[in-house]
Amino acid sequence: MKPAAPLLVLLPALVLLPVLLLLPQAVHGGGWELIAQFAGAAVQPSLDPVVLGAQLQGLGITCAVALVSWAVSLVLGVVLGVACSRVVWQSLLGVSWPADGLARLLAIPRSIHELIWGLLLLQLIGLEPSVAVAAIAIPYGALVARVVRDLLDALPRSSLEALLAAGAPAPAALLTALGPPLLPGLVSYGGYRLECALRSATLLGVFGLGGLGNDLLLSLQSLQFRELWSGLWMLLAVMLLLEALIALLRRRWAMPARWQLGRSAASPGVGRQSRQMLAVLAALLALALLLAWRLRFNPLQLLRWQPLPPLAPGGWAEALALPWPALIAGTVLLTLLAAALAVGSGPLLLLLVAPWRWGQALLQLLWALGRLWPPPLTALLLLFVLKPGVLPAALALGFHNLGILGRLLLDAAESADPGAEQALQCSGCGPRLALLYGSLSSVANAYLAYGAYRSDVILRETVVVGLVGGTGLGSQLRESLSGFAWGQIALLLVAYALLTLLGEDLSDRGRRTLLAAA
């Protein structure tokens, strides 16, 4: 009794049953009028020039931080990725172990969320423009490095071997043989990372590292919903513009979409287009440099550490005495709940709106809001009506990731071969059943595989809703950070890193199994 692919894709949505059962107990009674005010303010955002001016400035800082940190992470990632590629070491020195060793080391910066990096650096260095940039660039650089290494090592080596055999020096041979074919994959992934960087920069703002996020948080806390919405609509416009631009370039360069779910994987365009890609990349990097100068971003600041309060006597014992099993269980529960909500709700909502023409457009808007909305703000909003706990945290995290997964699902369902779905509809089948049996079944395995990868990201992200969850490593970490409890912080970081690496391994295995079955 093995559920077929289209049923498998609906199974995570079963999590909605316990969530709906628990919701009535989690409601604390008041706050509905605030939610109503918030919803009503969506259609009448503040148009006060002072507010708009301040928010535009904040948005400018957020975009600048996103672009600069993205550019730094890309450069860092390519350098590190080349440095930990097996084929590079083998061509240069004939050994591959340094590549594997370096790759393992890079797992550490990758496993720690940019928010933790931000809060740590904030404690060490103080509020400087370079802190937000470094906080994003460190984990992103390690993520890009992993992708570059995987891409490089998966490229066919025949042309490299031919050049080396003809006596070309190894660096020149590597650049000639592997550079051009690496470019499309790198550019495609780079585009996706730029979208992520905008979301991360907004999030860091919420935690006080500058930019629009901070304005949004203050508006929410002072219940100025109309101001909140003018900021949100602006951010939405920028995000949709960026996404549309990246999608346009992807189409123009005939590149595979990020985590191609559909069946047709377009062959990457190499050759004439390489020049265009390099030109766009160079222009963006130049823009980033200009912005970095405007932001007065100074990397040397990162070296000026503030004197730290010493480790309190008995700090380690105190750290060991933390309720570790409960903290880890809380994090895992939050991850599983949020992941199931994010993965399961997408297909379910798509099925629900299938009969209506405008349904998909409505979902697109909902999902765009989910993507752009920093999860801690959603969580704060939910706290108007819900008691603090794992539920509002999971809902907030789930909604954000639903935005990312849902968009992918919709793109994939639209690009899937419509034949089977049409055939079913022509035989008198309703649009929902036709969608389930037709298009959803063909994208199910790839979607779930991406869901497995996303669950790993969600595990990292649990820290950002830690403050409302009251459970898990994230909330404890926030507490320890504000108390300068260095022993606790160190152990918590180790626990976080180990848990994320374990999660990464599990999600990799799950993804491979699902893709093999597809």
């Binding site: 077929a4 289209p6 089977a420 022509c426 035989s427 008198g428 309703g430 059943l433 049996y437 037709g438």
Partner: protein
């Protein structure tokens, strides 16, 4: 005296990019009729079938099912569509599912949600599917195989099986013989003609006029217009040559 028509197209026109894909087509199909749809490539045969099964709505003209115009209400239109089955040129099977689940996809319109979901967990109505497989000359052991693992000829039979599970009154088939060798083509055609006995009817688009034996009637399309409609027995070489060459038959 013929019984009342199953399907009637009245002055159906479907717009196209350069010229209409169908232009003022009148066609009446009665129960028990086996009609071959002939014409050169691009004449509009697939478009005509798409209008007949409801995939395309014509810009002008009317489509009547058993004397009733095609319903505007979703539920009633679906009930009409349930009685029209199509064997698609590209088969349109659900690749991710097993043979049995694909056969049962023909029942979805009648089943509704609970059984449709259950079929994805425990494929239903095995006995009916086993009998169907025997009738199609397929090994019942294939029922639990994913349909993607089958050969081209086997897949075509599964698509036909799905059509039989739907049990429609009007069978439409779009070039079902195009990619088959002569022996397989003959077998499949015999199966289709055997199914299409009154009260059912068959409209089958055909590339090869040499396979007309067994059909009652032949209609011919050229450049979107119906230019030929006569009993299959009265069709001669000159008439066909005219249809394909472009002179008036």
């Amino acid at each position: 005296m013929l019984s009342p028509p199953l399907l009637e197209l009245r002055a159906v026109t479907v717009a196209g990019r350069e010229r209409p894909r169908l232009s003022g087509v009148d066609l009446v199909l009665h129960p028990g009729e086996r009609v071959a749809l002939l014409g050169p490539s691009g004449a509009g045969k697939s478009t005509l079938l798409a209008v007949a099964n409801g995939l395309l709505a014509p810009q002008q003209g009317e489509v009547l099912w058993q004397g009733q115009p095609r319903s505007r209400s979703t539920g009633a239109r679906r009930r009409q569509q349930r009685r029209i089955g199509t064997l698609w040129q590209d088969l349109r099977l659900v690749e991710a599912l097993t043979v049995q689940q694909n056969l049962n996809a023909g029942r979805l319109a009648i089943w509704g949600w609970p059984r449709a979901l259950l079929n994805l967990l425990l494929p239903l109505e095995r006995e009916a599917c086993v009998q169907l497989m025997r009738r199609l000359d397929l090994d019942p052991a294939l029922l639990s195989q994913p349909v993607g693992a089958l050969s081209g000829g086997q897949r075509q039979r599964v698509a036909l099986g799905r059509l039989l599970r739907q049990d429609p009154e009007l069978l439409l088939a779009d070039e079902p013989l195009a990619s088959l060798d002569p022996r397989l083509a003959g077998e499949l055609l015999a199966l289709l003609l055997g199914i299409a006995e009154a009260p059912r009817a068959l409209l089958l688009s055909l590339h090869r006029p040499d396979l007309l034996e067994g059909f009652d009637r032949a209609v011919g399309l050229r450049e979107g217009r119906l230019v030929l409609d006569r009993p299959a027995s009265e069709l001669d070489g000159a008439c066909l040559a005219a249809l394909y060459a472009g002179t008036t038959p």
